[in-house]
């Protein structure tokens, strides 16, 4: 068996409202907010980056799980905003949680789904009996060019999962769907990503998520109504609602894990944070489907059953953490982003 032993999340305290960004560029705030299904997004402080966010999330996960960090045999950090081009974020995390030196570690990149690729690798290492615990992190401080449509959603946050044999939620199965689809990219040395505009929806997000989800349900012999909760990658507030409907999931099933409207798109953190917010309120026996999406493109789907151990687990209450916020104006936002 493979299970989630613990989780920890971190979202920076600062927020900027969609209307503040819209005001800057002369866009209509109400139509932007409606169109994207988002009200505000998280902003990292000037001294926060993917490494510091990953460390905060990892420390919370270790503390909640109550394990000895020295027993973590693998750490994978998925991000598209690693602070170094060469020099792993995973080693910084490993040192900061006291997991060094007897472990394997690496950084992963796959747009917004590098973190779930890390979960799959940990699952494989656990199943093979190679490690006792593995840690998979999805964390990002997403970049967007000033004035680009992505500026409304590109946010910061991260989450760490400890994977082991037994825990608070059993991972029953995983399935992936991957193709070469140039919907979104960032060339080496370029500060901001490029994207295929309208190309991002149908052939990328919807196609990969529906295929991965259907493949998983086919493998498990399940249908949407068998799940208590569903979590999909959240590039905005609209796409996950629409993909849920396409697959046959209700708004009720996805609402607890839908964080994008209040924190924005945390890229590698997105679906995994939604899952964490769902675990925060789940009961023993609840069944959850999570499907990530990374541009380029691919989706990883997971079938999860919450165990009795969740009752005694010190849950973090991610929504409460998100409520502790402080608004910044566009000028301060640019300063924190290092633009001025």
């Amino acid at each position: 068996m493979v299970a989630i032993v613990g989780y920890g999340a971190y979202v920076p305290r600062y927020r900027i409202k969609v209307e503040e960004i819209a005001r800057m560029w002369g866009d209509d705030p109400a139509s932007i907010s409606r169109g994207l299904g988002i009200y505000e997004k998280s902003v990292p402080a000037i001294d926060e980056d993917t490494a510091t966010i990953a460390v905060e999330a990892a420390r919370r996960a270790v503390k909640s799980a109550g394990i000895d960090a020295g027993e973590i045999g693998a750490i994978y950090v998925g991000s598209e905003s690693h602070p170094y081009a060469v020099k792993p974020t995973a080693t910084i995390v490993a040192e900061a949680i006291g997991a060094t030196p007897y472990l394997t570690a690496a950084d992963y990149e796959f747009a917004c789904k590098a973190g779930t690729a890390g979960i799959q690798n940990c699952m494989a290492l656990i199943k093979a009996g190679m490690i006792k615990y593995g840690m998979a992190i999805g964390a990002d401080v997403a970049q967007a060019a000033p004035g680009d449509a992505l500026e409304y959603t590109a946010a910061a946050g991260g989450v760490a999962y400890i994977i082991g044999k037994d825990g608070i939620a059993t991972i029953n199965e995983t399935a992936s769907f991957t193709t070469d689809t140039p919907d979104f990219w960032r060339r080496e040395g370029q500060p901001y990503p490029g994207h295929g505009e309208r190309f991002t929806g149908e052939p990328a997000y919807y196609r990969h998520i529906t295929n991965a989800a259907n493949l998983l349900m086919e493998k498990m012999g399940t249908k949407p109504s068998d799940y208590d909760y569903a979590v999909f990658h959240q590039p905005n507030g609209k796409f996950p609602r629409r993909v849920a409907k396409m697959l046959g999931f209700s708004d009720e099933q996805i609402k607890h894990g839908l964080l994008c409207p209040i924190i924005g798109n945390t890229y590698s953190g997105s679906a995994m944070l939604g899952l964490a917010a769902t675990l925060d309120i789940a009961k023993p026996g609840d069944r959850i489907i999570m499907v990530s999406f990374g541009s380029g493109a691919g989706s990883d789907a997971f079938d999860i059953t919450v165990t009795d151990a969740i009752e005694s687990y010190p849950r973090q209450n991610i929504r409460k953490m998100i409520e502790k916020k402080q608004y910044v104006d566009y000028g301060l936002y640019m300063k924190y982003r290092g633009e001025i």
Binding site: A51, E56, P83, I92, K335
Partner: protein, 134 residues
């Protein structure tokens, strides 16, 4: 800062690992190899000791003209903090309005970027402090 020095100090900077004298029980941060109280008796008796990272603001100052590598962060708060285990450390307090900081305020350590050695150099991480939530 030189990379070798930063590397040597990583346990202290990331995890507040100091030293505890096994003879008298005093805790030292930054770490010391000899206890200044027990002196010769403490040789070989200094063990690694991880501080909790919680403490109280003893005094503070608002930096308006920062040293090189810290430009752009001003104004920021530098404080002298008495850690619960006894040692004093100097550190930045973040996510706190300069009007809200006060002597006696409870703080806890957090993990932040301390400085970047230019655009091409290493990035140095370590502890800063935030107000402890009740």
């Amino acid at each position: 800062m030189a990379v070798p020095r930063y590397w040597r100090e990583i346990p202290a900077r990331y995890n507040l690992i100091g030293k505890r004298c096994k003879v008298c029980g005093r805790v030292y941060f930054p770490p010391r190899n000899i206890c200044p109280v027990c002196r010769r008796k403490s040789v070989g008796q200094m063990e690694d000791y991880k501080l909790k990272g919680t403490g109280v603001v003893e005094s503070y100052t608002i930096i308006h003209v920062p040293p090189p590598h810290f430009e752009g962060e001003e104004p920021y708060i530098m404080a002298l903090i008495k850690l619960d285990e006894g040692p004093y450390v100097t550190g930045q307090i973040v996510e706190c309005d300069e009007k809200d900081v006060h002597i006696g305020m409870r703080v806890r350590a957090t993990f932040r970027k301390i400085m970047e050695d230019g655009e091409k150099g290493a990035i140095y991480y370590g502890y800063k402090f935030v107000k402890e939530e009740e």
